[in-house]
Point group: C2
Chain length 316, copies 2
């Protein structure tokens, strides 16, 4: 993980032009331009890297890729307008399969009020798709807003997607709950907008890399340390997740929110009722740097960033 | 080609949501949203489909992919703000190669005043990259604006990229001119903006699929027929292009413009002087449907759309 981020930093350091209408630059979940009129994020999914054909139907491949891109908008509290799809069809994939992939993309987009705006189609040796999500973002909630004394909250339950991958990788079939966590995640767009509209989110990120890694992004961007409470993490036990997969498994696409202590606890009940999703306090923001885990004995240990490493292609 | 477009039409027919702030929808070169505040296009390049590793350096792979995406902005007369890069590194590609690909993307973007805004990095079995180009587009020039009686003009010389591919595919080395046409094309962003600002372009498209195919897009979107004059096509002879590759070879990224007869001929001289690029009258717009080629004998024959077929993976 560290290698991936170091490389992105080296890439960005090579730039000499940063356009002057850019409100939020690289290093957050989306680029935000034109005074917030537009937020743009994209997600590239390649067969054999981000999924295997045998794990998912074509519609699920499209749905999941679109959700990943739309989740980047949620992470800025942006309102999705539309998506673009660039689809490279692998061998032995015909028109019906292409329509099924696109149908999954359309389904994910329409669930959050967005439409398919266009795209690009080609054929090659591998199934690959890039989904670009475009939205309006007049008041972006960035990673950098966490303040000392804030509480950390997460939506939903964690580790289910990693539990599914673990089962597939050992040749077993994941439980329906685990399979669904991987194949049909929800982009928390409405949830993020609701929290942002109430001023409850000082910082926001989506859990694409995993709680330890994404928590680290918030800590680094905000110049703070965060401590997670092991006993509080909402492990997706129904999906067979463990504390390990809940901490380090990526691709759950839930939200991590840094919020002032007052207000969030009161709002959590209404939030759960409205969205049918739990909101759980998982830790605190404090002075310092890094991510720590407080165990049952009250001791805090530095938490290795262990989420899925897209550069290594292995789960930690 | 026809199959690809029919499939895109089927995909788009599956939608039920088209966001209400969309100014230009799928079927043009870019989506344009928020009253023209933002135009967004993307281009997916996959090793073995859109290029071979042995043909290009890593920097050229990045440069070419970014140019293809920026050329979509040029085709709307949009002003680029920035690009996003999603990069999937193939096997045996290390940090230096990733930096070289990104460096090529940055180079292409900075040539047209845009910057790299962010992106996504992963590793897999194949080198794949998607470049999203984002720009401002207060007055989009669409494909649909060609009028009966308009003249058709193209920038630059055509067929060079296809000539390079032809040489590589028969195991030979392309000439420097052909190689450069394929590896280092120019996104005609400034040229398109200049033409649009003078009201000279009734319709505009970039030649990514080839003159016959892209001419067909303009004819279809505008509800007109177009006739190309075989003797007038600016064949890139220095690159070893033939009339065939100039008509059907894609990926030259030059512009095809439909312009009222008065004005363009006068502007052509200033255009060439300013941009160092020829502007050539290649045909006319007339009532009817389809694309026709007028030969030396004055006879007009229907022109088969023969550009690179990304669904078949073969050149016609």
């Amino acid at each position: 993980m560290a290698r991936e981020f170091a490389l992105i930093a080296r890439i960005l350091a090579a730039r000499s032009v940063v356009p002057d209408d850019v409100l939020v630059d690289a290093g957050d979940d989306c680029a935000v331009l034109a005074g917030g009129a537009l937020a743009v994020g994209n997600d590239l999914s390649v067969e054999g890297v981000h999924f295997r054909r045998s794990w998912l139907s074509e519609a699920e491949i499209g749905f999941r890729a679109a959700t990943a891109a739309l989740s980047d908008l949620a992470a800025m509290a942006a309102e999705p307008s539309g998506v673009l799809l660039a689809l490279c069809l692998g061998p032995a994939l015909g028109e019906e399969e292409a329509l099924a992939v696109a149908g999954g993309v359309i389904d994910a987009a329409e669930r959050v009020g967005a439409g398919l705006l266009g795209g690009d189609l080609s054929r090659g040796g591998v199934l690959a798709l890039d989904v670009v999500a475009i939205g309006r973002c007049p008041a972006p909630v960035r990673r950098a807003g966490a303040r000392r004394g804030d509480e950390l909250w997460v939506t939903g339950r964690l580790g289910g997607a990693a539990a599914a991958v673990r089962e597939w990788e050992r040749g077993a079939a994941p439980s329906p709950a685990a399979r669904s966590a991987f194949a049909a995640p929800t982009a928390r767009v409405q949830e993020a907008a609701w929290l942002a509209a109430r001023g409850l989110a000082n910082a926001l990120i989506d859990l694409s890399d995993g709680l330890s890694s994404d928590g680290g992004h918030v800590a680094e961007a905000s110049g703070v340390a965060i401590t997670l409470d092991a006993a509080a993490i909402p492990v997706d036990e129904e999906a067979g997740a463990t504390l390990e997969s809940a901490l380090h498994g990526g691709e759950d696409y839930e939200l991590l929110i840094a919020a002032a202590p007052d207000g969030m606890a009161e709002a959590a009940g209404e939030f759960s009722q409205r969205f049918g999703v739990e909101l759980t306090r998982v830790g605190v923001v404090r002075a310092g740097a890094g991510v720590y885990l407080r165990g049952a004995d009250g001791r805090e240990l530095p938490l290795r960033r262990g989420g899925f490493d897209h550069l290594e292609g292995t789960s930690a």
